[in-house]
Every structure is written in C-alpha cells, then in structure tokens.
Amino acid sequence: MISVRDIEFKYGCKSNLKIDSVDQGAGKEVAEYKYVKGFCLKVSSLKLADGKSLAITGVSGSGKSTFLKLLSGELALHRGSISILGHKLNEMRDNARRNFRLKNYGMIFQDSPLLEYLTIKDNILLPANIVGIKKRLDLKELCANCGIEELINRYPSQLSEGEKQRAAICRALISSPKVVLADEPTSSLDPVRGEEITDLLIQNCQKYNCTLIMVTHDYSLLDKFDQKVDIGKLGDSDD
C-alpha cells in the first residue's frame, strides 16, 4: 500500500524576501520586503493498493516529476507523510531513503539513461553486480519478455530509443521490486512505440506483481491503468 497525506513541497517560495534596508532618518532602518511566488506542490491524499497501476497526468510544470521524486525519496518532504510498504519516507534520512529506493524500487526515466560503457546485459544487472541487490528474475526470460534477448551483448549506442527503454524496463524489473516508478518513459518515442512500451510495462508489472506509478502526458494510454490522477487536482498546486 502506498499512502500519501497532506504533503507539501516547495522551492523558490518565499513570501517575505528581504530586498533592502531603507533609512527612515534618525538612525531608524526599516526593512523592505518583496513577495516572491515560487513553486509549491501540495497533495492532500492519495492511496494505491499493492500490485495496482497508477497514471499521473498534469500540465507541464504542475509537479508530476517532482511528485515522483518525492515518492522515490530523491527529494525530501517539507510537510506531510508518504508511507510506502509500511515505511514512512518522510522520517528517513537521505542515506536510508537511497537504500530503500535501491532495494524496493525499480526506476525508469524519461531519457532512458543507460551507462554507455556497459553492455545491455551489464546495464540491466548494474544494481545486482555493483551493490549486490538480489537478482530475482531470470535475465533471459525477462529480456525475452521485453523483446531484447538478442541485444543483451550490445552497447546502448547500438540500440534504438525504444530498445533502450525496453532495457531500462528490464533493469527496473530484474530485482522484482515492490514498486516501479516510471517518469514519462514514452516521451521520446512515437505513439505506436509509446503504447508498446506502456503495455510491456503494465504487463510485466502485473506478471511480477509490482505496483506501477507512471507519469505520462499521453492521455490515450490512461485507460490501461487501474487508477489515474491529475496532479493539479490532488491539492493546491501553485505555479
């Protein structure tokens, strides 16, 4: 279960920013303030059951990616609580959040960054090889599921964007994580490939019983998800 309550995250939000001290005469100085409006993300409540999928939509700059980073623990909350798998992220320090992320999350990013100097196989096994995260799924089977079994000995530069994204999905799923967070994984792909990747992600998450939270701009894909939310309607989000 993922539970989010009354969270608030802001940057550049300073209601009273001191800009100058003005001499009022007779040795009195009065501070002069200016109101600066920044970005504030507020989410009052969100719940997602284990093994379900959630699509997050919203206009550009509404805080979709920021919300995902709060869920992953990359950013620290200013207020409120996020509870994932019985752990309160807001009570963890950065190192603990990193460790929690590495062990329990599968991460897929917008620009599918793979390490250029590793083969696809080594990229998929990166967390398992480097920090000993347990490889729970069979690499060949997973790659076959994602249609890249023939490509695992190639380097990322030899693959198309769609193939790289498939490899990123394999990397996210190889340790059979409880939660998969995907930040616009189809944004660099054409609609056909985008749908293909989304289907692949949803199917594999269902197959391996992962909770999927995906940020997307593509409203045509929303029907494929169990739940969908517009980040702008989850709380008072100011731009």
């Binding site: 990359e74 100097y117 480097i130």
Partner: protein, 371 residues
C-alpha cells in the same frame, strides 16, 4: 566498483591510453632528467675525490681540468716537456699529451705512471711497450668491437692540410678493466706515439717511386722503425697536462708555491678548480628541480581541469546512480578508482620505462658530455 571502473576505462580506450601515456612520460622525464643530473654531478666529483693535482699552462683552470680529467674537446695551450723535470723530485708525475682522437675517442698519450696514479688495471693483454702500441678503455673496446691484437687508426688532424699530421695505425696491446670513469672512453698511447701523431716523428719510405704517391697512414713496423726518427729537442715537445701526486704535504705546498710565482705554468687542485663550476651546477640543479616541480604542478593542474571537465560531462551518469539509489559518494568513489588505476598504471609504466630507457639515455647523455 573496480570492475565497473575497468569497464569504463576499457570502453574509453583512447582517452585512457592518452592519460596513461601522459602520466608515464611525466614520470619518465622527471626521473631521467633528475638521474642524469645526479649522475653527472657524481661522476664529476668522483674524478676529483683524490689527492692528485693537475699541472698545465696558466689559463682557464676549468678548461685544464676538463681536458686532463675528462678528456673533453676543449682548447688547451701546451707547454714544454722539460717542465716535468722540475717537478719529478716533489711528486710522482704522469705527463699527458691529449690532442688527437682515434675513431672518435680521445687519445691520451702518457707514461705508465698514469695507470698507477689512477689505479687502473689491465683486464686483457698488457700495457703498451713500443711505439705505435695502444691500450683501450673498456667502453672503447666494447663500442669498436676491438680486442688485443686488433688495430685502429688515429683520426687525421686536418684532412685538407697536406703538411698536417698523418694518421697512425695503433696496435691494441691491452684493454683496461672498466672503471666507470672517463678512462673507459679513452685510448692510451705512449707520449712518443702521441708526438708521432703530431708529426714530430716519422719514417722515410725506402723507395719513393712516384712523387705523387702519398702515404695515407703511418704504421710502425720493424721495417719503418729502421728509418724512424724524431725531429728537434724532445725537451721542447708539447704536453697538455701533468697529473701529479705530491710525495708529501711539504712537496704539495712547494709545488703550489712554485706555480704561484710563474706566469706561464700553474698547479691546481681539481677540487678547488671545479668548486666554482660545481657551485654553479648545484645551483642549476636546484633551479632545475624547481622547474621540474613547476612542470609537474602545471601538469597536475591540467589533470585537475580534465578531471572537473569530465565530471561535468558525466553529470548524467552521476544522476543515474543517484536516482537508482546508489550511495551519495558512489560516483566520486568510482571516478577516484578510475584515476587510481590510470595513475597507477601510468606511474608504474613510467618507472618500468625508466629502467628500460635509462641505459640508452645515459649513453646518449655520455656522448653529449664527451662532445
């Protein structure tokens, strides 16, 4: 971590190799320059670390030392052989005439006392006994691939001057034991052989059939010895220097005193004569080290620049590790591991190259020093 670092270095082979070679060359240059200067200083001072004095024409003391101790190709005024007679009662003396070369190596014409004063030993053959005999330094024998019984020609003084000296065919009578001094790179003959090279002694061919027939070199044989003769008074024959070992402290003082009252002849202690030069060398050494350290610092700063630029270029990689949840210092440790590998390979490669190239470099350095 180490495997990942190696994987990245292998993938970026060219930049890795360039970095390794840069480090290797930096280390190699530092070691070679430093060792050659140290070696030069050691050899220069080792040759003066005894009680021997040098006598010669008054002039540049440094030139006299360079000529008499190191057989360097510098101009040094000669003096008459009869100066030797005034010295012999106070010192064991080895007169030296150093003006010619044989196949590029300096010829030092001297008496047998020279080998005694310098504690030189013959490894193969014997000391020279006759006119035309020679004794080779160990390095000369090695480089010219000569052994006892072989012969070599002295180099002509001036090939375009028909009145000049003609080459003398020198017979190798012995080879000296290696002493790691300039003696290894010299050819030794008797004084008379040296003066023969100078054109003071010669033989007359029995039959001169044609006036146009010129003798291209002089070979001392039983036949030529029949007509061989020297011209002029031998007391007036030239010497370049006299190596002296005073018989006592008072003899040493006397020799110094005598030389101070003559205007044409000087007795000098090589240590004192070279002290100014050595002082300068030590200052150059310090300056040299400062320059080397500055070069190393400049190279280090360049590496630092490359390092920070590479961090900027690798920001996406760092973000990936951070977003996946790797610990905060993971990327820094990965970069540090890569540099550790590169520097290690580079430094060790430089050390190994130094071991391989040092003898070659010393050879080149020696040939430069020999002039």
């Amino acid at each position: 971590m180490i495997k990942l670092a190696f994987q990245r270095l292998f993938f970026n082979k060219i930049s890795s190799l360039v970095t390794i070679f840069t480090v290797m060359i930096t280390v190699l240059v530092f070691l070679l320059l430093n060792s050659s200067l140290e070696d030069y200083k050691d050899r220069l001072t080792a040759r003066t670390n005894n009680d021997l004095l040098i006598a010669g024409s008054r002039g540049s003391g440094a030139d006299l030392i360079m000529k008499a101790l190191y057989f360097r190709n510098v101009e040094q005024q000669t003096f008459k052989f009869d100066y030797l007679n005034g010295i012999l009662k106070d010192a064991q003396a080895a007169p030296m005439f150093i003006q010619y070369s044989a196949q590029g190596f300096p010829v030092c014409s001297t008496s047998l006392d020279y080998f005694n004063l310098r504690s030189l030993e013959v490894e193969h053959g014997n000391l020279f006994t006759k006119l035309g005999d020679c004794l080779l330094g160990a390095e000369v024998a090695k480089k010219l691939n000569l052994t006892v019984g072989d012969s070599l020609l002295s180099d002509p003084d001036n090939v375009f001057d028909p009145a000049g000296s003609i080459p003398v065919k020198l017979k190798v009578k012995g080879i000296l034991k290696r002493s790691s001094t300039p003696d290894d790179n010299a050819v030794f003959t008797s004084l008379k052989t040296g003066w023969t090279m100078h054109g003071l002694g010669h033989a007359h061919p029995e039959e001169e059939d044609s006036p146009s027939l010129k003798i291209s070199f002089l070979e001392i044989t039983d036949e030529t010895m029949k007509t061989f003769h020297f011209h002029g008074d031998m007391e007036d024959y030239p010497l370049t220097a006299i190596l002296l070992k005073p018989k006592s402290a008072s003899s040493r003082a006397f020799l110094y005193g005598e030389s101070s009252v003559t205007t044409s002849f000087a007795v000098i202690d090589p240590k004192e004569g070279l002290s100014g030069f050595l002082d300068m060398l030590f200052h150059i050494d310090k300056l040299f080290l400062i320059i080397l350290v500055l070069i190393v610092v400049a190279i280090f700063l360049l590496y630092l620049l490359v390092f920070f630029l590479s961090l900027r270029l690798r920001r996406q990689e760092k973000n990936l590790f951070d977003r996946l949840g790797f610990e905060k210092a993971f990327f820094s440790r990965l970069v540090a591991t890569e540099w550790f590998i590169l520097l290690n390979v580079g430094i060790n490669g430089g050390l190994i190259l130094n071991i391989i190239l040092n003898p070659v470099y010393k050879e080149i350095f020696d040939s430069i020093l020999r002039g």
